[in-house]
Amino acid sequence: MDVSDRISTADVVKVAKLARLDLTSQEIETMTVQLDGMLEHFADMDALDLSHVASMTQPYPLRNVLRDDVVQPSLDRDEVLAVAPRVEDGRFHVPPIIGLDS
């Protein structure tokens, strides 16, 4: 590892697993260097005292948005399934989730 202690290839491998991305070893190497460069830039905000600043998650204050409880048309099941990669008996088909060591 020739980059700083901000991020290691082991970190990148772990994050790729969390993100459900198969990365090649070349991609892992490149990504480690590039993410390190970005984190170095992001350190500029360390200069700010944020201890008394409230978070802002979106531009407007959160509010409940309610609507009348009226039945509206929704997407047609057959149309939705028609654009899926694989379907079976009116449902999305996926490979086994349990019973395999993943």
Binding site: V15, L18, M38, P59, V65, L75
Partner: protein, 490 residues
Amino acid sequence: MTLPTVPSVPSVPSTAAGIAAGVRGGELRAADVVEHHLAAIAAREPEIHAFNLVMADQARAAAAAIDARVAAGEDVGPLAGVPVALKDNMCTQGVPTTCSSRILDGWRPPYDATVVSRLAGAGAVVIGKTNLDEFAMGSSTENSGFGPTRNPHDTTRVPGGSSGGSAAAVAAGFSPVSLGSDTGGSIRQPAALCGVVGVKPTYGYVSRYGLIAFASSLDQIGPFATTVHDAALVLDAIGGHDPHDSTSIPEPHSPLVDVLDRGVEGLRVGRITDLPEGADPDVAERLEAAFDALRDAGATVVDVQVPAFGYALTAYYLIAPAEASSNLARFDGVRFGLRVDAPDTNSMYSATRAAGFGAEVKRRIMLGTYALSAGYYDAYYGRALKVRRLIHDDFARAYMHADVLLTPTSPTVAFPFGAKGDNPLAMYLCDLYTIPTNLAGHPGMSVPFGTGADGLPVGVQVLAGTLDEATMFRVGAALERAALGPKGAA
């Protein structure tokens, strides 16, 4: 601007306003308008690559329907017969919508985005789906999974991004207006680089229903046009509350086309004295000329400070990738798009996403996942949200002293392909001046204001406070008048 020479049917106006007036009045057929633009596309699209899909058949059918309704005496709407190009991250029912990503190649949405149905309701004719940086992540359209778009002013240079196809389509005369989406500058920066008008409205001004999400707290749809008036016309048609988007603003918007002639007498135009450096001299010179033009038109130039402006890049490149890493989790090979088969579900997800996403999208997903992961959440995502608050509050204070703020849109004119190399940060700096507005949720627009290096277009950015589109458009219109006037464009 070089317009293509095309065999033309009856003279077709270059603006949406002119086309709509002609079609509504029965002097111009929507069918001829569409043929005129399809001819322009045929002449130059192979060189520009503005489109992922040209919808010639659908556009012809829509135009014929408009003409029939006009003949029957119907009012077909304020955009009667106006061709519109749509960034290919807006869902069109039954028509491929790709986000310029191989993971969605061939996918046909089962519904229309709200902006698409509103355009149709206003009489517009969708002429095609435009190229973008994959999932709107980029500033050059070089990240498209289907090849880059070229700048109509100089085809060795980028059109900007991520809405580069929509900007190039208008600049090349393929369509008088188009729609883009702007998460950190993706409408305004390509507008500047292509010499057209581009508007990012206040967050919530336009419904995001059917816009494939990149960063949900930042994304907004807005228009590209050759005139400020056309941009207002389109925004008036697509804006307003939508029950399908709970973040769309419930209050109705006043028509923007009505404010354009009001001038800028007495308005306070803010100069940000602590604006981060980085603009090239030719761009800085045009910004000064814009201040002078507004002063000549009766505005006052005042100094304001936005101390946190310079930290926006950091906040944005943590918040936007964090939201993207969550939004893009839906592309997993189950319900739509690409699937790479594997023996178990987790392996199928990982293989599908590895095959379907390009390098920049993977980079942003990784960055966002990292910023949200245990042990780093507070240090990165948490702090970025606080910086966002500082930026918002700094702007709010600035707007107590100024009605609008003026900055460069892009630090440079259009740059050559490959100029940013493999350095993601260099590309991110293209959005230095546009990003803060998205974080604050405020509106911003880019107006062409002459040319810089190599005769390439330069845009000036007008920023305004929440829901103050009216003042922003007045200033945009004044800049346009000045740019077209005797002392205007270089």
